[in-house]
Symmetry: C2
C-alpha cells in the first residue's frame, strides 16, 4: 500500500474507527472519533455531524468540532440550507464545494448565516444512509494547506466514515428501541400492580425517578443506574401477593395485618428471582424497608450491610410515601417531607445517601416537583 | 493507493464487511461474509470461525466454508488443539504456520485429526478479542497458488476482519442479553399474575410457547414472531384487574360473574396500551376470545376481521385450557384436546391457523408435550 507522507492511510483510519464502534451504547464516543479523524485526515478546520429528525426532513446538529462557541450557533443553521438538503438528503449524493462564493450551486442563493460570523469557504459532505434512508450528514469544512482543495480521495474516506456512523446509529437505535420497549412494558405492568392499591397510583414510577436522581448525585455508573432503575421500579412488585382488602384498608392496620404487609419485599424477591441476572436488581427490592440503624425489616440489616440500592430506594420510597395521601392521613408538603427525611439521617437512612438526596433536591427541583 | 492486480484492496474488503454489519441481529450473515471474503482475499481453500464457550476455555466451531461434509466433522477438532489454544486464546497472538509438518510448534505434538482426513498443510489464524478477552478465533487454511505461503499482509487483513467479527459479536450479545432480560422479566411478572389464579400456574408461558409454534408453522417473520410472543405472554394480563375470589372460584361462574370475567381482555388492553409500540401486541390481547364465526367477545368480530395474532392465541389458549385442570373439571388428554380443537375449525377457530396447529402438533410433539 502506498504510504507516502502526504496521503493518509485510509485502512488505518477505518480500523481505528471500527475498533471504537465496540458498543451500541457508545454513540457519543463514535461521533467524537469520526469527527476528529475526518477533520485530521482531510486536513480541515472543522467537522460536523447532523442527524435528521424523526420526519427525516430537518437536519439537526448532533456534534461539531473546530468551531468557536459563537460559530456553533451559526453552524446549526447549515442544516436548514436548501442546497445541502436537496443534494444530500433528497438525492442521497455527496457534495464537494471548493469555493462557496463562486460555486454555481449557490449563485443567487441566500446562505443561512452571515459570512463574517462563520467563515466556511469550502466543504465536503456525505449523507449517512441507513436502509436507503438518509439519517444524517457528515460535513468537513475549510481545507487547510497550500492548495485548499477537497479531492476525490477525500470523498472516498468521508463516505467510508459516514458508513460507519450510519451503522453505529442503526445499532444504537435498535438497542435503544428494545430498551424503551422493555422499560415501558415493565412500567405498564407495575402500574397495574400499583392500581390494586388505590392510594399509590404512580408510586413505583416516582420512586424510580427519585432513586435515579439520588444515584446520579452519587455518581453511579450507567450500568448500575440502569439496574437501580429497574430495581426501584419493581420494589413493590411483591404487593401483587398481598390481599387487595389489606392494600385498600382505610384504617391503620392491625399488628397481624401489618405482619402480612411486611411480607411484600420477600414476595417481590420470589417473583423476580427467576429473572436472568436477577442478582443485580433483587437486593433493592429485598432491602428497601431495612433501616440504617438496623431496626428495619425483613432482616434487620444495619449500615453498609444493606445494599446501596436498598439504602437509596428507602429514601426515595419514604419521600413519595410522605408526599402522597395515605388511607389514614393526607400527604405532607414537599419541604416538610424533605426536612423529616433529613432529620432521619443516621437513624432510618444512610447519611451518604441523604447527602446525595439533599444535593439533588437543591439542584433539580423539577425532579422532586418542588 | 497501490492497486496492483496481485494485491487485494483491503479498504474495499473492510468496507464491504462493515456495510453488512448493519444490524446486531445479523450475526450469521456477518460470519458468512467474513469467511467468504477472507478465504477469497487470501486465496485459500478454507476459512473457519470458532467461538469460545461461556467459560472461555473451549473453541466451538461456529461456521466454516470450503470443507467437504466429512471434513467438517474433523475441523471441529481443530478447536481443541493445544497449540491454537495457547497461542491464540491464552497469549491473544495471531499465528502463521506455512508448513504444519515441519513447523517447530508441532514437533512431537499429536494433531487432533488424522492428516488424510483433513488435509490442512498451512494456515493463518487470528484471535477475536472483545474487551481484552478472546471470544473466538478466525482461521484461514491452505493457501493456493504458486508459492503457498501466508504473508504479513494476509495477517493484517485477517486481523482487521477479526476485529469486525468481534465487534459484531459484542453488539449481538448486548442486544441478546437485553432481550433475554426483557423476556425473563415479563415472564416473572406474568407468573405472578398467573399465581393469583391457582388453576392456571404457568398458563401464560405455555400459551406463548404454543403460539410461537403455530406462528412458525405459518412462516411468520422474526419481527412478527417476537410481537406474537410478547402478545401471547401478556394475553391474560388483564386478570390482574379481576377479583381474586372470582379467579379461584371452584364452581361454575354465575352469569354476572362471567360478565365480569369477560372484561379481562379489555382490562389487558388498558394495561398495555401505555407501552411504546403497543399496537403490535395489543390486538392479540384484545381479540384472543373472539371466535372465527363471530360469536366471541368482546367485539363479536368475525373471520379475518380478527387479527392473526388473536386467531393464533385463541387456539393456543384453548389447547392449554383443555389440557390443564380447571375448578370445575379435570384436564383432557392432549390427543382429546387436539381432536376437539380440530373439530372447532371454521366455528371457533380459523381453518388456516388450525392447519398450522396440526402441522406443528405432528412435527414437534415435544413442544405440545404429547
Amino acid at each position: 500500500m502506498n504510504n507516502s507522507p502526504k496521503e493518509y492511510d485510509s485502512t488505518k483510519i477505518l480500523l481505528k474507527v471500527s475498533n471504537v464502534i465496540s458498543s451500541p451504547l457508545n454513540l457519543k464516543k463514535i461521533c467524537e472519533l469520526v469527527l476528529r479523524e475526518s477533520q485530521r485526515a482531510l486536513g480541515a478546520d472543522h467537522a460536523s455531524l447532523f442527524l435528521t429528525d424523526d420526519n427525516h426532513k430537518h437536519l439537526i446538529l448532533e456534534q461539531a468540532r473546530g468551531f468557536t462557541k459563537d460559530e456553533i450557533g451559526n453552524i446549526k443553521l447549515l442544516g436548514s440550507w436548501e442546497v445541502i438538503n436537496l443534494q444530500l438528503v433528497k438525492r442521497q449524493k455527496p457534495l464537494i464545494v471548493n469555493n462557496v462564493n463562486s460555486n454555481f450551486l449557490f449563485k443567487g442563493k441566500r446562505l443561512p448565516f452571515s459570512r463574517e460570523k462563520l467563515p466556511v469557504s469550502s466543504f465536503i459532505a456525505a449523507p449517512l444512509v441507513k436502509e436507503r434512508e438518509v439519517i444524517g450528514v457528515l460535513i468537513v469544512s475549510n481545507k487547510k494547506g497550500s492548495r485548499h482543495i477537497f479531492k476525490k480521495e477525500d470523498m472516498r474516506l468521508i463516505m467510508a466514515l459516514s458508513n460507519h456512523v450510519a451503522i453505529a446509529l442503526l445499532n444504537a437505535k435498535l438497542y435503544q428501541d428494545l430498551r424503551e420497549l422493555f422499560i415501558s412494558t415493565i412500567k405498564s405492568l407495575v402500574r397495574a400492580v400499583d392500581a390494586k392499591d388505590p392510594y399509590t397510583g404512580g408510586h413505583s414510577e416516582r420512586v424510580m425517578k427519585y432513586s435515579i436522581a439520588i444515584g446520579k448525585a452519587m455518581r453511579l455508573d450507567d450500568v448500575r443506574l440502569e439496574n437501580l432503575g429497574l430495581s426501584s421500579l419493581l420494589h413493590d412488585v411483591g404487593k401483587i401477593g398481598i390481599e387487595e382488602e389489606l392494600l385498600s384498608k382505610p384504617l391503620k392496620l392491625s399488628s397481624r395485618e401489618e405482619k402480612q404487609m411486611m411480607l411484600h419485599p420477600s414476595i417481590g424477591v420470589k417473583i423476580v428471582e427467576t429473572i436472568k441476572d436477577a442478582q443485580k436488581i433483587i437486593l433493592g427490592i429485598k432491602e428497601h424497608h431495612e433501616r440504617f440503624d438496623g431496626k428495619g425489616y425483613p432482616c434487620r440489616l444495619k449500615g453498609n450491610a444493606i445494599s446501596l440500592e436498598g439504602r437509596i430506594i428507602a429514601v426515595a420510597d419514604t419521600f413519595d410515601a410522605l408526599t402522597t395521601d395515605r388511607p389514614y392521613r393526607n400527604g405532607h408538603s414537599k419541604n416538610k417531607a424533605f426536612l423529616e427525611i433529613r432529620r432521619a439521617s443516621h437513624k432510618q437512612f444512610d447519611p451518604s445517601v441523604i447527602r446525595a438526596f439533599i444535593i439533588s433536591y437543591a439542584k433539580q427541583p423539577d425532579i422532586w416537583n418542588v
